[in-house]
Amino acid sequence: MTANPHRPRRAAARRKHHWSLHVGLLAVSFFMLVPFYWVLKTSLTGENIFVYPPKLLPNDPHPFYYVDVWYLIPFARYLANSAIVSALAITANVVFNAMAAYALTKHFRGRGLIITLLLSCMMIPFQTTIVPAYLITGKLGLLNSYLGMALPTFSTIVCIFVYKASFDAVPKSLIDAARIDGLSELQVIMKIMIPLSASAVATNVILSFIWSWNNFMWPLIIVRDPNMQTLPLGLSRFLTYHENTTGALYAFCVMVLLPGILLFLMAQREFIRGLTSGATKG
């Protein structure tokens, strides 16, 4: 490398560049984190509900609003309902999506048609189907049931293509060798494809969990019985009954947000990969 006479100047310029970047990013981080801080503070102190001006720092924090939420509303019930619906959705998702993706790795007449069909179904957001979906679920007799809540989310197209990309990446030689060894189709899937696609499975689990856990509109439409309500419905109902009168509402918010945040922090990579799989071709 020849000595670069411009290097000291450029290095200095880069260092100054770094400072402004950090300032900018810190400002953005502040904007993104303020709502979290605010709700956490109020859930711990109950201030700023009736009193103006609001205090900026927590004064005398206590966890008793969380105790209120746990006991005074059927939080455990809501949690169980959400967990059951999510478990149903995740299991079905992993199984059905993998099956469909495996079928799509093979060649058969109509394959292109099916792929086009799936891609165009991606353009139909759930919100444009609510009226007939409600009627269909009613005809199936699944209104107000766990299965009914989970059924529309039993399969997701994004995840099918994530699996397909993963399956396509398995070397042909491996599969051929397995076939020669006499493994049946199912064994090929269970012993070769799935283990090599662990990251696709993780992505599917996380994405379907987040979507079914946060799902508000569909349970709102089909749930009539207060005992079947999921967490988002419970939260909305609490807001309707108690409005802004207690810090327990914000404790409820924090308790509801924690699983999502925890899962996200644990599984960032898979989450981001699942969401950008549409951005990178195939």
């Binding site: 904007f31 984190l33 709502p35 165009s120 609510i130 939260l235 549409g278």
Partner: protein, 321 residues
């Protein structure tokens, strides 16, 4: 082994460039394989048929009917569409939805700035990326409740800051006022979706080969020139994708509006999707709601198609929910 030319597929997103191979093996083996394939495809296809395709078609049918759950359902032609044209609330919600869509570019520009900052070689960029993306996987109902309260007229954070800075004297009832209800919701939405835009743009940024920038630097191009001549053109697919997602969000943003304003003072923050919900499940006008949904879907398709043309024909539909 002979390689037959790849089966011609409708050109969408350049999927698997696989090759079709001639089938050896007996007819029975092939038939069993075919059965397996269709059996494997069946559950997903059933779900999509029941909850995507059939609803789409049924909506169209419902929009021409006078639907009744218990009595007779009759055909009334385009009456619902005529009613729609005279429905004030429909036009308001349509306009609000378009405003919502117009806020997407604002969010994308902000996210682009953040993505460019994060993409630079700063220490702790992963932490910044996590912080910005943290808002996306949250339950929108909870986000709505948090922002609703930050906008509170008496004790909200925004009013406090604005009054302390002296910008306003009396507190602004953000979510109860005609002018500010929708913009307030838009700000909450941008806050939540900024991370998603940023992730998509980051993925696009990281796909741009470094040597392009190096060659440009050697040729003496300034940073601004590099931004506009290299980065932005190569980011077009990602920007288009982010825009499609923004458009989708305006059509699906039910939770936020429901929790924050319920459609706002006198429908000033009513979106098409909330109006459809109200018609179908609060007013029991299921058929009118279906007609509204048809209009909404056509609008969605038209906008996506238009955006596709503008961005240069790169199809990149991604599902967002």
């Amino acid at each position: 082994m002979q390689n037959a030319p790849a089966a011609a597929m409708p050109a969408v997103a350049g999927l698997a460039h696989a090759t079709a191979r001639p089938r050896h093996g007996g007819g029975l083996k092939r038939r069993r394989e075919l059965i397996l394939i269709w059996v494997f495809l069946l559950p997903s296809l059933v779900v999509f048929f029941l909850y995507r395709i059939l609803p789409l078609l049924w909506n169209v049918m419902l929009s021409f009917q006078d639907f009744s759950l218990f009595g007779k359902t009759g055909w009334i032609g385009i009456q619902h569409y005529r009613d729609m044209l005279e429905d004030e609330v429909f036009w308001t919600s349509l306009w609000n939805t378009l405003l919502y869509i117009a806020s997407a570019p604002v969010g994308i520009v902000l996210a682009l700035a953040i993505a460019l900052m994060v993409n630079a070689e700063v220490r702790g960029r992963n932490v910044y990326r996590t912080i910005v993306f943290l808002s996306y996987p949250l339950m929108t109902v909870a986000v709505g409740i948090i922002w609703r309260w930050m906008y509170d007229e008496k004790v909200g954070l925004f009013n406090y800051v604005l009054r302390t800075l002296g910008i306003i004297d009396t507190p602004l009832p953000f979510l109860q006022s005609f002018e500010w209800a929708l913009p307030s919701i838009l700000l909450a939405n941008v806050w939540q979706i900024l991370g998603f835009y940023m992730i998509i743009l980051l993925a696009g940024l990281q796909n741009i080969p470094q040597n392009l920038y190096e060659a440009a630097s050697i040729d003496g191009a300034s940073a601004t020139q590099q931004l506009f001549r290299i980065t932005l053109p190569l980011l077009r697919p990602s920007i288009f994708l982010a825009f499609v997602i923004g458009v989708m969000t305006s059509f699906t943003s039910f939770d936020l509006v429901y929790v924050m304003t319920q459609g706002g003072p006198a429908h000033s923050s009513e979106l098409l999707v909330t109006y459809i919900y109200k018609n179908a499940f609060e007013l029991s006008k299921v058929d009118y709601a279906a007609a509204l949904t048809v209009v909404q879907f056509l609008l969605l398709v038209a906008l996506t198609w238009a955006g596709n043309r503008i961005s240069g024909g790169e199809a990149g539909a991604v599902k967002t929910e």
